[in-house]
Subunit: 227 residues, 4 copies
């Protein structure tokens, strides 16, 4: 072994420096969160702390040194998910391009995120669907959802003004779009391979915004059952 190089930090007998401890703490914390994210996404709150510890390759006891409870871990995971989403969203309205273009970008970005990290979204749905979710977690997610909806709505209204987006109640369009993303996102969890292969683009989703000359041109079709 080449002794010309020494690695100061690996002295072995020296007491750990505070920075080293700091670093270790951060790494362990991240490790636990990563493990937790995986098992929570798959099993929801039914995942056990044993699952989490195993996935993170730490002891159960250690998990409790870093987080006060199973719910606390959940809380952090949700917060991370929310943060990662909000950041991108808020930049979109300030971007250049027509409203329709920005809308397209927003949706594309949203889908990208869901396709890449379906577990994160799975987690969010789990939380929302589970009525035992504590209110502060619920509110956390609610805030992000609202941000999302606000931005989307604004772009839609602007897009309708320029004619790029089809007429219709903007709130409904928002809901339908988000629901569609949610649904696809779940699909991505059930069949990750299929979705990754077949859904690189969002064109089909965006059709709900498309102005359709034909729609207005065929007023003779029998009401809501027609295309």
């Amino acid at each position: 072994m080449n002794e010309l190089f020494i690695h100061p930090k690996e002295g072995g007998e020296l007491p750990r420096t505070e920075e080293a401890n700091q670093r270790i703490r951060e790494e362990q914390r991240a490790k636990i969160l990563d493990g937790a994210r995986k098992v929570f996404a798959r099993k929801g709150m039914a995942a056990t702390m044993a699952d989490v510890a195993a996935a993170a390759e730490v002891s159960q006891g250690l998990a409790y040194r870093y987080f006060a409870s199973k719910e606390a871990i959940f809380h952090v995971l949700v917060e991370q998910a929310v943060q990662s989403g909000i950041a991108g969203i808020q930049r979109v309205p300030k971007m250049q391009g027509t409203p329709g273009e920005r809308l397209g970008f927003l949706v594309s970005m949203a889908w990208e995120g869901r396709r890449e990290y379906p577990e994160i979204y799975q987690l969010l749905y789990q939380v929302l669907d589970d009525e035992t979710t504590s209110d502060d977690i619920r509110e956390l997610i609610g805030r992000q959802g609202q941000t999302y909806q606000d931005v989307l709505r604004q772009l839609i209204v602007e897009g309708q003004a320029t004619g790029e987006v089809a007429e219709g109640d903007p709130d409904k369009l928002v809901i339908v779009l988000l629901s569609c993303l949610d649904g696809l996102s779940r699909q991505a969890l059930r069949e990750p391979e299929w979705v990754k292969k077949h859904f690189p683009e969002t064109e089909i989703i965006l059709r709900i915004f498309k102005p359709s000359s034909e729609y207005r041109e065929r007023p003779d079709l029998p009401g809501r059952f027609s295309l």
Copy 2:
């Protein structure tokens, strides 16, 4: 004196008739299933038998007279949900009207069901999302899903032939449509009132099938981020 021995008491009524018992059994069974459907939809398998019994207004013990286990109740609920769905679907292809009309009807019917009985669908998603779901339940649902996809796909292909339905990979369209319904269905669980009020129609959903002249007319827009 010890009271271990008793003498048969005299007097009293006749035992219930068999029909009466039959009726009681059916009512209780239904009551338990109804209660179970509610709590399972809200809490998934995390719902306790205490929840179920309370929702059904019976004792926990009684629930076990009617069903062998929590999972058995689940199984019956899923079976019912699946059955109620399949019946309607299979009639659609044989109906009259253009493919597009039939497609519109199918979607309309599907949405109707989801809007009216969101718990049923919630239940199905819970089951599919929960990785501990037993394989036979999973297969049960899979069968229905397949039926649904087959019918939808067929109508889409026919619709594309007549020009009523937009071009595109039918499989993708199927997935997007179903995902959209799923997402809205969940939305309906979170905000039942809102959905009931704002979503009596399926027009927006159907837009994903709409042929759009404009799409082809504006090939100059920058790729996948445009509308």
Copy 3:
């Protein structure tokens, strides 16, 4: 149908006479006890009232009209078993014949009973082995056991006086004999066919009473490990 003969008690519309009721009551009671004896012998107190009712071909409710509790049924069964045993025993000392002959008869009778009705004895052992058995049941059995032991002991002492029975502490001989019967009786429950076929006689058991010239003639053998 020949109307010349009438059966007064089967009039159908007439109220049941008190005697008829009485008879029915006795029959049902016996039926329940018979069923109970079977299942208790096999499963001990682990037998359920559902088992008992099924074996007796009555409803569970009815069993509770006749007996206050599961334990009460047990109590009666034990009492019956005890009674059936004591009766025979007490006649033996007054019989004619040498003490040895009477002893032989007593043992033979005891074995006969155990071979014919192993369930009864199984029941008794179950009761004694189960420490949750109530004290009054325990005492009931204790009384019979004592009677048995007293009679046996008396005959042994007399037999030793006449030289028909081997020397030795009569109490020990009593215990060994009864233990031997118990053991064989259990064997009879595990392998009823085998025992019925191979153990029609008690000669081997009685050997413990036999005076043995050889025993005293070979005082050179090394203590208790020799024959």
Copy 4:
């Protein structure tokens, strides 16, 4: 302020060494088995895990860290009991001495074991008498019983050849001897003090093997009821 987040505390001891854990595990395991042996012997499978845990002075939860189920504990206990028995038995045939002497030793050893550790045998009987006993446990015991019977039988046959053992069907003698031991063993559970005091020796039991000149010398006695 909500306390969901905590910061890893500093300071503290090192984790237990692996040897320490190893020792703790072995001790606790033994403790649980000891407690279980006591309560199972007394109450059979009717003993509750609460009983077991209390007897072992551990929490119920801990018992499940060491054993997968109540039945698993039972299984281990039975296995231990069987093992402890078989070991001694198999050495006997190879010992020196006449067949009769070896037989005497075997019985003496067997009785010693039953007198010292009646719970172990109680346990085995409980298991065999309880019809719900799983087949693998039943087989486990069956194997030991067979070993025992084989050895005994062989010694009896040899003893009969040398004239040390009385004539008669060896199989019957085996059964009677084992039954007698069983019965006494149960007696030892009901009256441990009495048995410990009065039964230090097996001479009485061995009488069933003793050749008796008198038996053949008094053929005038009336059949099977005589001594």
